[in-house]
Amino acid sequence: MNTNKKTREPLFHLIKRANVPAWQPWAIRIGALLLGFIIMGILCMISLETNPIDAWKYMFKGAFGIGTTAKTAKFKTLALLRDLSLLLLFALAVTPAFKMKFWNIGAEGQVLMAALFSMMCIQYFGGKVPNVPLIFICLAAAMIGGIIWAVIPALFKAKWNTNETLFTLMMNYVVIQLIIFMIKVWVPNGSQSLAPSAYANLPKIAGEDFWFTIIIALALTAFMFVYLRFSKHGYEISVVGESENTARYIGIKVKKVIIRTLIVSGIVCGIIGFLLVNGINHTVSEKDAGGRGFTAILVSWLAKFNPIFMILTAFLVVFLTKGTEGIMEENQITNEFFSQVLIGIMFLLIIACEFFINYKIVFRHRTAKPQPVLAVSESQAAGSVDDRSGEAAEAPVEGASTALQTDETADQAAKEE
């Protein structure tokens, strides 16, 4: 009987971690990062025949220009900072809505709409209105554009409970076509791009045009942190996000909060669109957002919607992009496939490590003597995971039909708990 029992004990259990020390999640995250770099190195070694240490060097070279001339290094670092601040701004735009569990994946479209509105002002008022007022007109128009594109799905959500994810996604395509159409209107000769405009350009700081973006990104990060953490609005956003029932129960007008929050998102998108047109590109194109509206979701999510942490996650994303580009450059690979694979592996590890922050794996025979704990909720949560994995692992010994049944009943039992 006893030997029989041993064969049926599963190889490992999953146990929910209780009362973890504060350093542990960070140790796990850093561990995942290091593992990611090691896997990257190995992959580079296998497929590019690059020494892993060289591959890591190339990454830093690509991102910061380390190992090149001082001028290139400065240029690369500044480019990295610009990309970082743009991505951070996008993440700031989606975060308030995300905190409310409003899955806005249309930051891309909202920014493009803002950019288009700003460009319209330049096109129609450029030269007729002095530059300084025109800049403010552009800013206001961009904000209005961002707000309109963000509030439409919010209104539909509040009124008819439509799915905001699909809605915002579709609205992205509408703007892209709108921009292509407007370029056709402004450039009738058929060249698909609009030449940079001379009007309403933001002044350069220290000879560079992106310092504005960096400064505004930092200021907005601080603002958003305070807004979400300490303000009454932020508190309402958290309550609505956690439980709409509770929000109704204490008399928060859920619809109002949804719309108000999306207006905030729209304003941030407006600022981004304005910075893109008036600060960086001086023109508009449907590729201006460059997919950042989607990458920003990852940035915001990984940072658990905390604007300060978003600086770190945005940096990580930009560093990986630039770093893998560096590897490709050194190996004279022109397509992006391999760098995408590397970035994908890294993200996978970072996201997967959240699982190990919540659960730990206990292997057979190594189970420590259990200590009684009074918290009932923990026991239930742990129980369901423990048993499901246990039954599943036992199943193959039993034959398929029983396996199905045991698994089902375990699931049911878990639900019951």
């Binding site: 009987m1 029989n4 029992k5 049926r8 259990h13 146990i15 929910k16 209780a18 300490f230 303000s231 009454k232 609005h233 932020g234 508190y235 958290s238 309550v239 956690e242 439980s243 029932n245 509770t246 109704r248 129960y249 204490i250 008399g251 928060i252 007008k253 259990p370 200590q371 009684p372 704990v373 009074l374 918290a375 009932v376 909720s377 923990e378 026991s379 239930q380 742990a382 129980g383 423990d386 048993d387 246990g390 039954e391 036992e394 039993e398 029983t402 049944q405 045991t406 009943t409 375990a410 049911q412 039992a413 639900k415 019951e416």
Partner: protein, 579 residues
């Protein structure tokens, strides 16, 4: 006298991660007995029985069936050893008939519903069930569904039946019917295990009682040698006071009039129909009824959370000859009310503020020179919770769904305290000082067990969650306090703490509404008892005079269960009365 042992458990231990659900439990189940497994919520009763039923597998220990050691890895194994379990939440397919559900998963020769139906009828005759094998599950009442579950287990040939909290959802009459059936089965030589935490039922039905506490087996005693008090002490581990100290209401005054109220449920049908009653200050109004008969909609309708289709909710504020304050009324409101002739001055002259500046009005109000002519009467119909709050009506509500309505599970205790008060003040930032003080006060006074006031409430145990919620709701010194199932899932000590809190509120002249499920508690705690059935008022009775059976009859009078169930229940009750 030697008893034959059906199941013997030796040294059973089961852990879930760091938590021990059962530790070294030794327990015998005899043939032909009714054994109660008694313990508080979360003490491991269900886990222990799940191990016999094949849902969990013990970490350590052995199980013997008829003296032979066995391994039970799945419910199928359990049935092979003639063990069957009836779970608290029924596992039936709604769109199948009773017979189909019973036959499901059994391979006994050719599949023939007729044969199944015949066998079911046979069983019904033998044990005194009432069931129509051709009836769909979704058309059945809770007690009928339970009957199907029991027959399902018997059909699989079980000799040992385990029932998990079988009485939780039944009326007193239905419980009697169930107990009668269980006694019949016992006579037939079956062993029956009832998992429960209700002491009176234990005393009534079982031959022996096994008491579990914190996963450990405390003792097994013969029912005839013990008392409720002794069992309760064993369950909790220290002396418990089981008395609810109900004082007579002092000068109850009407506070809230509910008049011909209609509220629809989510499906758009009337869940509350033509309900009228009065809630008095200084009194506890109990609401009894089978779960899902409109209690939730009624309370949410009054609290402004559900739209009221028809009817009125009149709030009566005894303000006659009391000064107006800026505490609840804004200057604009006061001016409007003055123009409509609501106020008089201390000499009895009408106040209308004509030709007075705002400054003067503020001075007069602050000097208590403006008094109400009459009591304030406000219709709360169509008001949102926030409007009710802004009107200065202190209406507290402890909803059924604590972590998804009353509180935010992922927020700390302090943040949850802020829910009610965060709007106060002009600042755009949330003031956390007062909520923190309140959180610390509640933790101290209600003895909330928590690592800190910043712990998310989701991590607290059920009793502590409820203390946080009730503590917050009574902290605003309400005029009306409504509590829906406030002791559901709570251990004995926490339950009595909640009862005492409600009684304290009553003594403070608060109008308390208490929706409960345990009739013994409802009768012991309430002053008046409103029985709701099928969304209608079945009766308002004096809780000091009425009997449990009378309340049970009222509960069934309009119940959504069909007439058949009502009839049998009534017949049974009549029969018992004769005896």
């Amino acid at each position: 006298m030697e008893h034959e042992i059906a199941i013997q458990m030796k040294n059973i231990t089961k852990t879930f991660g760091p938590v021990v659900a059962n530790r070294g439990v030794n327990l015998d189940i005899r043939k032909g007995e009714i054994l109660s497994v008694l313990g508080e919520n979360g003490c491991g009763k269900t886990t222990l029985m799940n191990m016999i039923a094949g849902i969990y597998y013990p970490d350590e220990g052995q199980i013997f069936v008829n003296g032979e050691e066995v391994t039970i890895k799945s419910p199928k194994d359990a049935f092979r050893y003639k063990i069957g379990m009836i779970h608290q939440h029924f596992k039936l397919i709604d769109v199948f008939t009773a017979a189909q559900n019973i036959a499901l998963g059994v391979k006994k020769g050719r599949y023939s519903l007729k044969k199944v139906a015949a066998e079911v009828r046979d069983m019904c005759d033998r044990y005194g069930f009432q069931i129509d094998p051709k009836k769909m599950i979704h058309e059945m009442s809770v007690s009928e569904k339970q009957t199907v579950e029991i027959i399902k287990v018997l059909y699989r040939g079980a000799d040992i039946l385990i029932l998990d909290e079988p009485t939780a959802v039944l009326t007193p009459q239905e419980i009697r019917t169930l107990f009668k059936v269980l006694r019949e089965m016992k006579k037939d030589g079956k062993s029956i295990v009832i998992i429960t935490h209700k002491l009176n039922e234990v005393m009534e039905i079982s031959d022996r009682v096994a008491v579990l506490r914190k996963g450990e087996h405390i003792a097994t005693v013969d029912t005839k040698d013990t008392s409720e008090k002794e069992l309760a002490d064993m369950m909790v581990g220290k002396k418990v006071e089981l008395n609810i100290d109900r004082k007579d209401p002092v000068d109850p005054k009407p506070r809230l009039f509910i008049e011909h109220l209609y509220v629809k449920n989510k499906e758009g049908r009337y869940a509350v129909e033509d309900v009228s009653f009065t809630i008095n200050g200084g009194e506890i109004l109990g609401i009894a009824g089978i779960a899902g008969n409109g209690q939730k909609e009624l309370l949410e309708g009054i609290a402004g959370l559900q739209r009221v289709s028809k009817g009125d909710i009149i709030f009566h504020n005894p303000k006659k000859n009391k000064p107006v304050t800026f505490f609840h009324k804004k200057l604009r409101q006061i001016k409007r009310m003055a123009a409509e002739g609501f106020f008089h001055d201390p000499q009895g002259n009408k106040v209308d503020f004509k030709g007075k500046s705002n400054k003067e009005i503020i001075r007069l109000v602050n000097e208590e020179q403006v008094l109400f002519y009459e009591d304030e009467i406000i219709d709360l119909r169509h008001r949102t919770p926030r409007q009710i709050q802004e009107l200065g009506i202190k209406l507290s509500f402890v909803p059924e769904d604590r972590l998804n309505m009353g509180l935010v599970g992922n927020m700390s205790i302090v943040d949850n305290m802020a829910l009610r008060s965060y709007r106060k003040g002009r600042s755009i930032f949330v003031n956390k000082k007062r909520p923190k003080a309140l959180a610390d006060k509640i933790i101290r006074e209600l003895e909330v067990v928590t690592p800190s006031d910043m712990t998310p409430v989701r991590r607290l145990s059920g009793g502590n969650v409820q203390k946080v919620l009730v503590g917050r709701e009574i902290s605003s010194s309400p005029k009306v306090l409504m509590a829906a199932y406030p002791v559901r899932g709570l251990d004995i000590n926490s339950s009595y703490l909640i009862y005492n809190l409600l009684n304290q509120q009553k003594e403070k002249n608060v109008a308390v509404v208490f929706v409960g499920e345990d009739l013994d508690v409802l009768l012991a705690l309430s002053d008046r008892l409103l029985v709701i059935s099928g969304g209608k008022v079945a009766g308002i009775v004096d809780a000091r005079k009425v009997t449990k059976e009378e309340v049970g009859m009222l509960m069934l009078s309009n119940a959504k269960a069909d007439a058949h169930a009502v009839k049998t229940a009534a017949e049974n009750a009549a029969e018992e009365d004769k005896q």
